[in-house]
Subunit: 476 residues, 2 copies
């Protein structure tokens, strides 16, 4: 082809004719990335954002200078989770291994749609996911899929649940006599509501169950809701438990919920997107007791396993459901013995290979590394909780069961209707004056402050510094 108008480095020449120029460009990008991340603690955890310049589709090719300027812009204005004071969300600084993995995967540009389009990754993923499903105690027929984010993991699980329990994959919901409903805690992730909407139940079809003071599903309320739905002529088909709620990191009573699901022939899904990581720690995994009863589990290595986004998984007690109760075959794809085209059994078709960075991270850190990270963040969480409990003007939203702490100020020298504003001001103050980013969720109708103690470079001294700033603010 005559493509003389393209920049010399537009593509990598398959015989290396532009190797030197491409290597220089990669080096320039690497230098910028390293300069940014190795000074992450000297930036803000959440830098201010300049107005973006107007965007227009460029007519002419640009040179490396333009590309590097765009990269600089991205580096400057991005959220900075590598900062030890970045504590606001379940968004970790990434493992080095997962950065490597994403780099390699981009260069190869394979496709998880079919075995033929990703001969290595489409084999590695089911092998690794089976091991992880075994770690969760899901039994001999268990396995899993990676999907691009936790919302899709919950969607995939609930789609299979619906198809299995209501036999509606082919004929849809219209022939059903009763409207299908599922049960989920009011503190669960909104992706369950979204899945209910997508799956044709409507957001009303996800019945929210009240929680106790510790943000855990109230079992009595669940039983009542099941009875009420049955009386109202609805068709309950699934129960969703949460292991690690978004705002407070609490865990629903899994053993009891599993028993109730079995008793009522409900699909039992556990959204352990965050908390599933506890299975990697012998000292902590008991907190998830009951998860081994699940029909499906959402577990996201992109959170507490520190793998770059996205890396989310859905595990099934019986992986065969995906072929029996979900598969849509694609006649244009080759099939290979013993291996499944993952695009046929997933809510996604074309998909990024997220398995390499997961496998590299597990290899690099080992179970021991993850166990130690969990233990270290437990220590930090204790320090954080102790500091809150030492201050009468602060209160916890719940007793932490993971490395999340949700709290707020209730300064009794102010009228209670000013507390929301006080907490919002405190959040901004901590970002501005203490280089600490805490998030500000709405919860039980109030503003709270939330920390997720993921970052291995966050120290007890950092915690002390944050509470020093809180004390200073509260005397203001």
């Amino acid at each position: 082809m005559s493509l003389s108008t393209l920049p010399a480095t537009a593509f990598i020449h398959p015989l290396g004719h532009n190797r030197e120029a491409v290597a220089a460009l990669l080096q320039a990008a690497t230098d910028r990335i390293l300069a940014h991340l190795t000074q992450a603690a000297q930036q803000s955890p959440l830098p201010p954002v300049d107005a973006l310049p107007a965007i227009a589709l460029p007519e002419l090719p640009a040179d490396a200078t333009t590309l590097l300027a765009t990269i600089d812009q991205a580096l400057t204005m991005a959220m900075n989770p590598a900062h030890p004071g970045y504590l606001g969300h379940m968004d970790p600084l990434p493992t080095t291994a997962s950065i490597l993995g994403d780099f390699v995967v981009a260069a190869l540009n394979n496709n998880m749609l079919s075995v033929e389009m990703s001969p290595y990754f489409s084999r590695l993923e089911p092998l690794l996911m089976r091991e992880i499903a075994h770690l969760f105690g899901l039994g001999d027929r268990a396995g899993g899929l990676l999907v691009s984010g936790g919302s899709l993991a919950n969607l995939q699980a609930l789609a299979v649940a619906r198809n299995v329990k209501l036999r509606c994959a082919q004929t849809g919901l219209s022939p059903l006599e009763k409207p299908p409903v599922l049960f989920v805690s009011e503190a669960a992730h909104t992706s369950i509501q979204k899945a209910a909407m997508l799956l044709g139940l409507g957001t009303d079809g996800a019945i929210a169950i009240p929680t106790n003071r510790n943000s855990q599903m109230d079992v009595g309320a669940l039983k009542a809701a099941i009875a009420q739905a049955q009386e109202a002529g609805q068709q309950p088909f699934a129960l969703v438990a949460t292991a690690g709620t978004t705002v407070t990191g609490n865990i629903d009573p899994l053993v009891e919920l599993g028993a109730i699901a079995q008793q009522h022939n409900l699909w039992f899904h556990v959204d352990a997107a965050y908390g599933g990581a506890l299975m990697f720690s012998e000292a902590h995994r008991d907190r998830l007791r009951g998860i081994e009863q699940a029909d499906s589990v959402t577990f996201n290595p992109q959170k507490w396993l520190y793998v770059t986004k996205t890396c989310a998984s859905v595990l099934f007690r019986d992986l065969g459901h995906l072929q029996r109760d979900f598969q849509v075959s694609a006649p244009y794809m080759n099939t290979e013995d013993d291996w499944v085209n993952l695009g046929e059994i997933s809510v996604q078709g074309t998909r990024h290979a997220d398995v390499l960075k997961l496998w590299l991270s597990l290899q690099h850190l080992g179970r021991q590394g993850y166990r130690d990270l969990i233990a270290a963040s437990e220590t930090l969480t204790q320090a954080f909780v102790t500091a809150i409990q030492a201050r009468p003007f602060l209160e916890l939203a719940s007793q932490p069961e993971m490395n999340l702490v949700c709290f707020r100020g209730c300064p009794d020298w102010l009228p209670a209707d000013q507390w929301d504003a006080w907490n919002a001001d405190l959040q901004q103050y901590l970002l501005r004056e203490a280089n600490a980013f805490l998030s500000l969720p709405r919860y039980r109708g109030q503003n709270w402050l939330k920390v997720v103690l993921l970052n291995p470079y966050t120290t007890k001294e950092d915690v002390g510094r944050i509470f020093g700033a809180i004390d200073f603010f509260s005397r203001d």
Copy 2:
């Protein structure tokens, strides 16, 4: 924290204490990637796969040697779309800019869930997608979203279509009097069927319309199917046209289909996942005339714009539908003036930032570069078609309208029931003897050979070589 058991390079130290070691690891990975891609033409386009070693979750941390060995394994066994003889699927070698983009995005590990979690990317994406929606002629209120793959783009579009036309986001499908159905060509992508299943219509709810000899939806058959559905008491709500079918790359009659959709108050969705790239070429965009009437369009830069996977988009004539008819709000997320938390209006929540690599690629190549790539592959396609037409023992599946050619051998010296096997053998022969990977789709109940002439390093000489091998095989 005391994390002395972790490898020194497990994370990048935010003050650079391990910078040298991390830089060495990145350099080692870069060297491997470059060595692989700059010799891509000397490997097979689809290398043989060794049996994978057994996988177990490792207990202890591993060193760099183990990581690099895993990377080597991935490089060796991956599909090799950088090879000029890789012609089998809509899977391109990636732009250099998109490899850079994925590298930067991995290092930053931001999250498209909310503006707060990706302050730069969550602003860049809507700005850029609005420009692309304008390129498609979708009007002043148009815009779009990136999603992780084309199946999700179609799912998102049809979910909005269903919610808008049937007002069922909250109450689900059960209260509807009539079963909802949509219409789509029999040659369309299977993700439409999958979306119908997910959305509660069931796979039966996607009514397949026959195609003409050119793989385009038969307008008369569509009209008949709409009438039949209405008589049968079904509720038609959407019409899906395809611009670039998976097997033959043909385009449904968009102008006529748009008019029929309007007449019957159907949501008009155009799946231009592949063909949408033609909008970047003034010389070719007229082939998509009618797409400007669409309510929504799927367009995947991960295909003909050569952006690494995934990079798929869904465009809406009225982007406001996403907030009015789809949004599920998340109370734990901050909102910022004028900017939307993209996770609240997308089928996904946490999502990888795919916008940077798209923006970098558009900057690097410019519209001119993409126009020239399209023109060059048109020339190559003509050469391929001419070579087929010169051989009486080959036949085309359809008249190509893009850079896809689908054909097969019908060797009249063999009984017709042996032609499927002959074509399968020819495919293997070309891979083995000519380093050319053509795919082998099933289409109209037969085996066909398919080429997608995307690779800018594929030459007319390569085409000549492939037909030389076909001639040799056919004399065998």
